[in-house]
Every structure is written in structure tokens, then in C-alpha cells.
Amino acid sequence: MSLPLSAEDGRATRVTRRVARWVRRGGISTLVFLIPTLVVFGLFSWWPIARGLVLAFQQTNLVTAAEWVGLDNFRKVLADPLLVTAAGNTAWFALLALVFGYPAPLALAVFVRELRRGRALFSVLAYLPVVLPPVVAILLWRVFYDASDSGLFNTLARGLGLGPFQWLQDARSAMPSIVLEATWANAGSTMIIYLAALSGVRTDLYEAAEIDGASIWRRIVHVTLPQMRTILLITLLLQIIGTFQVFTEPFLFTGGGPANATTTILMLLYNYAFINGDYGGATALSVLLAVFLGLLSLLYFRLTRRWSTT
């Protein structure tokens, strides 16, 4: 005569069976393979992020024990008059990059795709700037932007009866000048992604459109873009996140000048940490930026859910 199992015993048996099934299905070997990744990510990615979060609520001179200061770092950063300027500049950069930088690689990709001959050559030419180290490219463009009459761009502009322009030396034109270089430097890598996506567009749709007498423009609008919708939405989001973290270009081109016209959030963060040695302020600002970008991404997904194919 067997005794009826209690509810607790039944639960234990179910757990044991589940573990046994997990082991039988190769759970242990999966875990063994996963451990190195978990350790590397944990040590070099998640742990610093967690430490950064903690530091945002502390004041430290990196010598004595850190002191808890509650929300003081956030209050200080939010009260910094330069934060508004930096946020405005960053948004301005992101907007300019969106208007001029976002369509450029798409146009390039479509152009290359439509070529009958020399597709490889044009792809290489468009990708070439990506290969140049950013510092080298920026130093090169600094020379192009020489504001004297003999500067390269000013010489070209003179040929068109324009200029001379102050480029980086004027608060109004500094940011657009930086965006121009950034677009040139980065368009190639996005173009490669678009080219790959374009190869996945169903050719029968093009053929059908052609038979119906659609022009190239109509084929792009009604066939290409709808078919690339998902990839376009993702690259747009990544671009927005990337541009909100712009640092190298203003740092090397203008140092944030003239008169803070190109000081971005990340430059401000850099100054907090490395010029003023204020790690609490720097991490508080980075947490704020991360939260902002997280919210922006959520909002973006919510707004674009309807358009996405997935």
C-alpha cells in the first residue's frame, strides 16, 4: 500500500524530473560553453556598468573611501548651465546628421545597386573613408576647413564665386561642418548594410514594376523602401543613439568651441571626469544619458511598431 504523496513531495519530484530532463538534453555542456561568455561580459561589461551606477550616487577622489551623496551628483549636473548648451548642441548634431547623414548611405547604396558596371569599384570608393582612422580623417579635414583664403574648401568655394567661409571658426557653421565630415566618414559602413539588404529585395517585384512602366524613382519608393523597412528602422535607431554620443569629432575639430558651440554631452562628461576629476558628476551624467536614450528607444519602438514588418 503506497501512501499518497504530499503537495510538497510532488513539487520536489517535478523539479527533480525537470533537472534530469535539462541534464539529459545537454544543459550542462551548454552551461560550460556559456560560462566564458558570462565571465567576460560580467567582468568587462556588466560589472563596470553596475559600478558606474553606484558611483553616480557617490563622491570619490579615488584615494579615500567613496562617500554616499544621494542625488547630489544628479542635482549638480542638472544645475550645470553648460548642460543645456551641450544637450542643445547634441540634439542639433543629431538632427543635422539625421537630415543629411541618414539618407546619404541609402542613396549611395541604391545608386551602386542600380549600376550596370563598376559596382565593386564604387562600393570600395564609398567605403574607403571608413578605413581611415578617425583621427587621421579629422586632421585631414581640419586642413580642408582652413578658414584662410587659401584653404582647400575656400579655394573651391571661390571658384564658385562664394566665400571665404569661416567653417569651424564660426559658432554658426562649426556644427554643420562637423556633421559634413562625420557623414563622409561614416556613410560607407551603413551603405554596405543597405547593399546587403537590397540584395534580399525580391527581384520579381522589380520586374513586375518595370513591366508596369514604373520609373526608377517609383521603383525605389514603392518596391525598395517598403522591402527594406525593418533594416531602415533599425539603422535609424542606431544612428540616433550613435549621434547622441558624438565625441571624437568635436573633441578633435574644435575642442567644443567656438564659445561652446560644439560642446556635446559626451564632451561635458569627459570634462567632468578627466579635466575636473569629478567621477561622481561624470557617471551621473552618463546615467542620465543612458536613461534618456533608453526611453527614446522605447518611444521609438512604440511609434514605429505599426511600420515594422516584424
Binding site: N61, L62, Q245, G257, P258, A259, Y270, I275
Partner: protein
């Protein structure tokens, strides 16, 4: 433009975060037999063969004289961008040089070891010029480093461009009116920038401070322990008006107004700039690594805008790791005095050092400096190193003939770098906006600086 290059930013953020993950100190390096190990920075690199040999010999001498101290060399040189991470990670040497301009900020953040007792008790450190020693002291007079080199800022000028512009290179401008006239002459006759100025990475504020001092002004005033802005008055207005006139009335400042220190040095070394405010030590980089000709590099004292004007000082300070133990600090101060200061007071040290510097051709021997000790020792030192001097001494005469009589001024004592950051923007606005209202700019900057000083 998908992948905007934010990698540097990511690295920055990672460095901030990672820096906090480690906190190894260097405060336990005392062995069982009582031997103290210290790490000393600025060890010469293998390509500086003569200097490396001198360094190795000095280490042997020091260890022989101090058998309980072991020296470990590190090629580490101070870099403001990596200092914080090195401090956090415990990879800073026990002793290394930092520039004057960063000392007060590090003192405020308690990132320098207090060496008051050790320096005051030492036979060499105790003799340092008290005016120079102020640079490394806090408001309470505590000492946080050992000044080992000092200078007053200088007007560096291109003697070749002076000649081309019909100016006498042996009589550089002594007032700001003369600077303006010379800058215009250079710009008109040669097409080069007559006068240029650093403006980014806080250097604009630094140089504007130096200019304001020459007009008899101040940057901060401290009352009852509270600091406030003191620059929204005639001296800084005078300095900015001079810049405005050279830039917009005379068109004598070229076309680039966004220079950091290194970029301006390169422009000057390339013969594109007639005059700029820098340091006498700029000669070394310009001549040994940037291709300038020594005979074209002129050094003059800062021009004065007022008879009450003073001159900003600068230099190098040996700092001591705040994580080091008391024994390590004592050993490190002893080493710093032995290696960095005895060469000014000991003939053997002076001669060997100058000889090695001359042989490596990477150092300039005989650069003008603000002497740290008494005048008699300066004359002796000059005689000792004379055979090894590799700089054009005549070009320094305008500077050396006046340096001793200048009124010395130190950097703004509270939150100096943050104040400089605010003033960068003021200088940049004056140089890039034609009708910039100097009065309004200074009123706004003064308000912003008051705000940050109130929170310091």
C-alpha cells in the same frame, strides 16, 4: 551616417567605470627587512641612451647611499587624461612630475600626498624660494609637492618673421601696444598670423589669465575663505580689447582661433605665427621634435599692460602618490631632491645631467628658468653647464635680463581649471564674433564663475 564614431566616448565611459573597479594601492611595499620600494616616474626611454645611463647610475648611487630604499623605474609621464584612471588603478608611480597648472585642482580633490613635514625637514627642499613654494601649498600652508622647475610665462616670437616684417628681433615688444603694432606689421608684410593664441582645453583661460595679470588684474578674490570672481573689470577688459583689436581691426591674428597648446606650438614651429604667449620650455619641443630652427626662436618676458602688471609662473612639481605609505613618501621625497634638485646645487650632478641631455639631442640645455634657490648658486650652475649648452642663449637675453625683476603671480587658487574652462569660451567668442560685447561677456562669465566657486 549610422555608426558615428562614438568609440572614444565609449572608451571614456568604460574607463570611468572600470577605473572604479580597481583600487590597488601602493602603500604596502615595505619588506620584512624594512626595505622600502618606491616606483619613480619619468625613467628615460631606451632611445635616450645617455639620459638612461645617467638615470641608472643615479639609482645605483642613491640605493648605495640609502640601502633600505629600492628604486623601481617607470617611464610613466603625467597625462591629465589618464591620471585619474592610473590613480584609481594603483598604477601611478610613487613620485612623478606634474605641471603647476594642475596642482591646485589635485590638492582640492585630496589627490596629492601631504609632504609638509618631510620637505620642511629636508636640507634641500627647505631652501626652495618661498614664492615658488606657494604653488604647491593649500590655504593652510601645507605642502603637497616639490617644485623642481619653475619659469614665468613668456612671449615667444619668431625672429625670422620679425626680420621679414622690418622689426628688430633683439628688441621684442615690451607692452601690449607694441605687440599690437608688431603683429600688424608681421601680418601685413608676411601674410602670417602676427599674434596667435591658445583657446581650447582650458588653455584660453590660462593665457587670458596671464594677460590679465600683465594688466594688473586678478581672477579670483578670497574673502573669509570664500572665493569669488574678480575679473569683470578694467584689466581683463583691456586684455580682451587688445585681442579684439588685433583680430578685427588689424586682421593680424590669422584665420585659426581654435588652438590647443600643442597645435599652436606646431603652427609656431612651422613658421606660421609671429608671436604667442607660452613658456620658455616650448623651445625644446619646437626645436627637437617640430622642426623649428633654434636661431629663429626668440623668448621675451610677457609684455606689460600696466606698471602694476605681474607675470604668471609655471613649472614642474614632483607629486607624491597619496596611496603611498609614510616610509615610501619619505624615500620618494629624498629621491626627488637627489635626482631633480641636486643637479642645481651639486657640480657632479649638474655636469653629468647637462652632458647626457646634450648627447641625446632630445633635450635643450640652457633654457631660461626661474631659479629655485639663491642667486649665487645660479651663477655657479650656469658655469658648470656652459660647455654643454645647445640652445641659442642670445635669443633668451630679452627674457633673462628681465625675469628676476618681474612680479610673480600664481594661478587662481580655487577651481582654477574650471575657471579657465569658462574663460576659454570668452576668448573664443571675442576671436570669432566680430561685435562681441566684452562687458556683457565678462558679466556673464563672472556670474557663472561665482556659481561654480560657491559650490567648490
Amino acid at each position: 551616417m549610422l555608426t558615428t564614431r562614438w568609440r572614444a566616448g565609449a572608451v571614456t565611459a568604460l574607463a570611468i567605470l572600470a577605473a572604479t573597479a580597481c583600487s590597488a594601492g601602493s602603500g604596502t611595499a615595505v619588506s620584512d627587512d624594512g626595505t622600502v620600494t618606491i616606483t619613480v616616474g619619468q625613467k628615460p626611454t631606451p632611445d635616450q641612451a645617455a639620459a638612461l645611463k645617467t638615470w641608472t647610475d643615479r639609482v645605483a648611487q642613491f640605493e648605495k647611499a640609502n640601502p633600505k630604499v629600492k628604486i623601481e623605474g617607470s617611464e610613466y609621464g603625467y597625462d591629465v587624461q589618464t591620471f585619474q584612471a592610473d590613480l584609481a588603478a594603483g598604477t601611478l608611480p610613487t613620485v612623478v612630475a606634474i605641471p603647476y597648472t594642475d596642482v591646485q585642482g589635485l590638492i582640492e580633490r585630496k589627490q596629492l600626498a601631504d609632504v609638509t613635514d618631510v620637505v620642511k625637514a629636508s636640507p634641500v627642499g627647505g631652501k626652495i624660494n618661498p614664492e615658488v613654494l606657494k604653488t604647491v601649498q593649500d590655504a593652510g600652508g601645507h605642502i603637497f609637492g616639490l617644485p623642481v622647475q619653475a619659469y614665468t610665462m613668456s612671449l615667444n616670437y619668431n625672429r625670422a618673421l620679425f626680420r621679414q616684417a622690418g622689426l628688430d628681433p633683439d628688441r621684442p615688444p615690451a607692452t601690449w601696444e607694441e605687440v599690437r603694432r608688431a603683429a600688424k606689421a608681421i601680418a601685413d608684410k608676411t601674410g602670417k598670423a602676427g599674434y596667435a593664441m591658445m583657446t581650447t582645453n582650458n588653455t584660453g583661460g590660462w593665457v587670458l589669465t596671464a594677460m590679465t595679470y600683465t594688466y594688473g588684474g586678478a581672477i579670483e578674490k578670497v574673502n573669509g575663505g570664500k572665493a569669488s570672481a574678480a575679473f569683470a573689470d578694467a584689466p581683463m577688459t583691456g586684455a580682451l580689447t587688445t585681442l579684439q583689436q588685433m583680430r578685427w581691426t588689424d586682421n593680424a591674428m590669422g584665420s585659426n582661433f581654435l588652438f590647443n597648446q600643442k597645435q599652436l606650438q606646431q603652427e609656431f614651429a612651422g613658421g606660421k605665427v609671429g608671436m604667442y604667449i607660452g613658456t620658455p620650455g616650448d623651445y625644446r619641443d619646437a626645436v627637437t621634435t617640430m622642426g623649428a630652427k633654434g636661431e629663429d626662436f626668440g623668448v621675451a618676458p610677457l609684455p606689460l599692460g600696466s606698471p602694476d602688471g605681474g607675470t604668471l609662473t609655471g613649472g614642474a612639481v614632483q607629486m607624491f602618490n597619496p596611496k603611498a605609505s609614510k616610509q615610501q613618501i619619505e624615500a620618494a621625497v629624498k629621491w626627488a631632491e637627489f635626482f631633480w634638485l641636486e643637479k642645481f646645487t651639486d657640480q657632479d650632478h649638474a655636469v653629468t645631467d647637462a652632458k647626457a641631455a646634450n648627447a641625446d639631442k632630445q633635450y635643450s640645455v640652457g633654457l631660461p628658468m626661474l631659479w629655485l634657490f639663491d642667486e649665487a648658486s645660479k651663477k655657479r650652475y650656469d658655469e658648470w653647464i656652459k660647455p654643454y649648452v645647445n640652445t641659442v642663449q642670445a635669443n633668451f637675453t630679452p627674457y633673462t635680463s628681465k625675469a628676476a625683476s618681474l612680479k610673480l603671480m600664481i594661478e587662481p587658487p580655487v577651481a582654477g581649471q574650471k575657471v579657465y574652462a569658462n574663460l576659454d569660451s570668452v576668448v573664443q567668442t571675442v576671436l570669432t564674433q566680430k561685435d562681441a560685447d566684452v562687458g556683457k561677456l565678462l558679466a556673464d562669465a563672472s556670474k557663472a564663475v561665482d556659481g561654480l566657486l560657491a559650490n567648490s
